[in-house]
């Protein structure tokens, strides 16, 4: 066990401790506790920086289910390190901020439990090497995000937002799982590292392109790319610390991580380039365009996040050209695009985190986030204003803030991309800088809106519930740390480039030999280059359009609400609900006989069908054995009691007759020398008879079933076929040899499991996983019975409060 495994496990361990110990620690302290956990993890991770930047890769493997190739392998390389640092770093800042943000009366231990769960899941995503383990953590981030969005679950909007994000991201996750399985099919391994080594082998497979598309679907839904972005604005119903953490700094970047991680595998495919770059660019434009019309500050930030994620995505797409072209001096410009992607990822986390916290402060202190009610806050909240100004200007791409540097690199990449005469880029490539420039103008406008509409102008105190005042110091610490980073990265970008970004580049371009040359030195001043002119024109056009905002805002009316993606999604949900309702009431009749018919039909089709298909139905009664007298008596008892049940008129007779049948079966087991089964059958039969007798007085008298004759004939047919199938299968398996024989258990049980009782060694050793799950199922069934009865006893409580 090395430390890096514990980095994944620690959040889970502490998440488990919170529900147990929260009663003994004061409410506020849980927040400190979580902050401390993530801070410790962050510091632990920083100790890896020297080793990772030397090109070292820290792995750890635990064989989990080796027979299926599922191993818990953690893999800490440059790319994982960037994300892990973000997750734990922003995590501790958000933890600190949330202590002051959330009121003491909330169910804080739920909140922090989910938050730790999320942190662990996210670390699991970026650190696992095994595809299926990654998938498990990936879905866990969706689940914990669902819980966090629905934290104020008494509000309808929170529940709706949580459901929406869950549905979209999980749907993408499932398609990603299909992609992973296809990847496994092609490469024969679940380890990402091994797949990357075998990339030449799998590129010619027919499954290659479908796999690529399926995996991208997972990445796009998670990273809120067009047209899946619609869940992100609704997820803003979550408490602001959650929005800052999950929906801007970490979870939504899981898709970016996935794209970066799989670039070595798929990067040389034209479809990959066009999908990632195209979707990214369009999302960049669409997000920034829609952000301008928002009146809720948080919704505005949500759309801005969508657009910035699109920017990072498109940069990664442009970086993949280098994989296609191979390593040379000319491809350096494309590797710089990938470099800029990771750089902007970090920058975005810093300034967007600060901006979200700023909005949280405004919401917390003024009770509104609506820019129509805000204005002139600069003189009341100078510290908050500083955060907003620095964050927004960095997002808009102005110096001296870190956003400027990565934005310039983005422009440079878009300008150079059509130099590559691949993927018909020399024609369409000319569009890329144009879209990027237009999107940047809109970005500039909404940044001005954030600062201008909130902090300048007149105070509309008649629209405010509270008198504006500065936030408590505790809420200001975290955003201030972030904006110090925003400025700090601008002045010392190469420190970041050297130690953090370069190792990440090595993970994206594993086949390139000299990564040192691929990582550019970042310059704040790079002469009057085309990209600088682009920025200058963005500023001019942005200010002009911001001034004239009220004249051209009409264009948003062109897109009516009726045709929006949201309406489409809602209609889809309503439709699927009504369809499934109509379908379900067809077969869920509430009649036990019907359910038996389904079970028997499935059995007949699958088991009977298989035996017919394999042509192994045989009638070969055991000949050389004579039946003893008591065996005949037992058979007669069983037959008589079974037939008697059919004609019994009262329930008590049925109970007794079925007990007789059960006990006679137990005696059969004794006769056939199966003491385990006999014991189990005897005890189960006794317990279930007791259960029957306890329930007895609650049950109504048996009614005469009035069924149409056709149904009776159908049931008779099914039951006769069922009986015949079971009988014949019983005979057939005696001589059937196509399945694996179980006799090796007879040999193995003593040598491998050290037990003489074969039944138990199978249950406890060879198939222990089954047994464990059965125990869990039994427990859940017991809890189900308990809750159903207790809820009914409390007067049919309609709401499960």
């Amino acid at each position: 066990m090395t430390v890096d495994v514990f980095i994944v496990l620690i959040p889970f361990i502490f998440a488990m401790l919170i529900p147990i110990f929260h009663r003994y620690i004061q409410k506020r302290h849980i927040g400190w506790f979580v902050t401390a956990v993530s801070l410790v993890l962050f510091i632990l991770l920083t100790t890896y920086i020297p080793r990772i930047s030397n090109g070292e890769v820290i792995t750890f493997t635990h064989e989990w289910i080796p027979s299926l190739g599922i191993n818990f392998t953690t893999y800490l390389d440059g790319l994982s390190l960037v994300f892990s640092l973000l997750i734990t770093g922003i995590g501790s800042l958000v933890g600190l901020y949330s202590i002051f943000y959330l009121s003491k009366s909330e169910q804080l231990y739920h909140f922090y439990c989910y938050l730790l769960l999320f942190m662990g899941a996210m670390l699991g995503v970026v650190l696992s090497d095994n595809l299926l383990v990654l998938y498990g953590f990936w879905e866990l981030t969706s689940v914990s995000s669902f819980l966090l969005i629905a934290f104020w679950h008494h509000r309808k909007a929170s529940r709706a937002g949580a459901r929406k994000s869950m549905l979209i991201t999980v749907a993408g996750g499932i398609s990603m799982l299909a992609g992973f399985l296809m990847l496994y099919e092609m490469a024969g391994t679940l380890s990402i590292r091994e797949i990357i080594e075998k990339v030449d082998l799998i590129q010619d497979s027919a499954l290659f392109v479908p796999t690529l598309v399926l995996i991208l679907l997972g990445a796009f839904t998670k990273s809120a790319q067009f047209p899946f972005y619609i869940w992100l604005p609704d997820a803003m119903e979550a408490p602001t610390p959650v929005s800052a953490y999950l929906h801007s700094a970490t979870m939504v970047k899981a898709g970016i991580y996935l794209v970066a991680r799989f670039t070595p595998i798929f990067g040389s495919e034209a479809i990959w380039f066009w999908l990632v770059t195209g979707v990214g660019l369009f999302t960049l434009f669409w997000g920034s365009f829609n952000a301008v019309k928002q009146v809720d500050l948080k919704a505005l930030l949500a759309f801005s996040t969508v657009s910035q994620l699109g920017l990072i995505m498109s940069l990664l797409g442009m970086g993949s050209v280098a994989i296609y072209l191979g390593y040379s001096a000319e491809t350096m410009i494309y590797t710089q695009a990938a470099f800029a992607a990771i750089f902007h990822l970090i920058n975005h986390s810093t300034f967007k985190g600060a901006l979200f916290m700023m909005v949280g402060i405004i919401d917390h202190e003024l009770g509104t986030r609506d820019i129509r009610r805000l204005g002139g806050l600069m003189s009341f909240m100078p510290l908050t204003f500083t955060i907003a100004l620095i964050g927004s200007l960095s997002m808009a791409g102005l110096p001296p803030f870190n956003g400027f540097l990565s934005k310039e690199m983005f422009f440079a990449a878009t300008l150079h991309i059509h130099d590559a005469s691949v993927f018909s880029l020399d024609y369409i490539g000319i569009l890329i800088p144009i879209i990027a420039w237009v999107a940047s103008v809109f970005t500039f406008i909404y940044c001005l809106i954030i600062v201008g509409k909130t902090f300048f102008g007149d105070v509309k105190s008649h629209l405010l519930d509270k008198h504006p005042h500065e936030a408590p110091i505790g809420m200001l610490i975290s955003p201030y740390i972030l904006i110090v980073l925003v400025v700090g990265i601008f002045f010392f970008p190469n420190l970041l480039g050297q130690y953090i970004l370069r190792p990440a580049m090595a993970s994206i371009y594993p086949s390139f030999s000299s990564i040192e040359e691929l990582t550019p030195t970042i310059h704040a001043w790079h002469g009057f280059s085309p990209e600088l002119w682009m920025t200058i024109f963005v500023i001019i056009a942005g200010i002009l359009l911001y001034r004239l905002l009220k004249y051209w805002k009409q264009i948003y009316r062109v897109f009516p609400q009726k045709f929006s993606l949201n309406t489409l999604f809602n209609n889809g949900i309503t439709l699927s609900e009504s369809l499934s309702h109509r379908f379900t009431i067809r077969y869920m009749t509430g009649n036990l006989t019907d359910y038996f018919v389904y079970i028997f039909l499935v059995f007949l089709i699958i088991v009977g069908g298989y035996f017919l298909y394999a042509d192994v139905f045989s009638w070969s009664p055991i000949q050389h054995e004579m039946l003893e007298v008591f065996e005949i008596v037992l058979i007669l008892i069983a037959i008589v009691s079974a037939v008697g049940i059919l004609f019994a008129k009262s329930r008590i007779t049925i109970v007794f007759l079925s007990s007789v049948l059960g006990y006679s079966v137990a005696f059969f087991f004794i006769v056939f020398r199966a003491p385990d089964l006999a014991l189990t059958q005897l005890v189960v039969e006794s317990v279930s008879t007791v259960l029957f007798l306890i329930c007895f007085r609650h049950l109504p008298e048996i009614k005469k079933e009035l069924e149409p004759k056709s149904k009776k004939i159908r049931n008779l047919f099914i039951s006769l076929t069922m009986g015949a199938t079971v009988t014949f299968v019983g005979f057939a398996v005696l001589y059937y040899e196509k399945f694996m024989t179980i006799s090796n258990y007879f040999n193995d049980s003593y040598e491998l499991a050290g037990g003489k009782n074969i039944v138990n060694t199978i249950l406890g050793d060879f198939r222990a996983f089954d047994t464990m799950l059965e125990v869990v199922v039994l427990f859940i069934a017991g809890l189900g019975v308990y809750t159903l009865i207790k809820l009914k006893a409390k007067g049919g409580g309609t709401d499960a409060n």
Binding site: H62, E63, L691, N757, F779, A781
Partner: protein, 140 residues
């Protein structure tokens, strides 16, 4: 539920101990002879149920204040926990081991970690069955 049955009560006082002993013995003999966690648990559970049937629920609860839901939960935790323990020793999930050990007075004994797993199974079975029967019979 008040029953006034002297014979039943007198018999049960003795029989319950026999059943419970049998249950424990079945549980421990499981590795080499018929028995094991599931059957042992079932027998123990039926012994407890017999107590509940003979005396009323309140009396038994007073003398034996056990929350059987927690027993079941404990069982599940133990069963899953033994699996996790093997991860700690860097073996695949749910790996088990055994060995022969010399003890004072009772001589050489065969001990296995499967017994721990089976204990989890047994506790879950006891907890679940008693919970089910109690909740159904308590329902007035």
């Amino acid at each position: 539920m008040r029953i006034n049955d002297v014979i039943l009560r007198t018999v049960v006082k003795v029989v319950v101990f026999i059943i419970l002993t049998l249950g424990v013995s079945l549980f421990f003999s499981g590795h080499h002879a018929p028995g094991g966690g599931f059957i042992g648990g079932l027998v123990l559970a039926s012994g407890i149920i017999l107590l509940y049937i003979t005396y009323d629920i309140e009396t038994v609860q007073r003398k034996m204040p056990v929350d059987f839901k927690k027993v079941a939960a404990l069982g599940v935790l133990i069963a899953v926990g033994t699996g996790l323990l093997s991860i700690y020793f860097n073996f695949p999930f749910l790996s088990h081991t055994d060995g022969y050990y010399q003890f004072p007075f009772i001589g050489e004994k065969h001990l296995t970690t499967v017994t721990l797993f089976e204990a989890g199974v047994a506790l879950t079975v006891i907890g679940t069955i008693v919970t089910m029967i109690l909740s159904i019979s308590e329902d007035e």
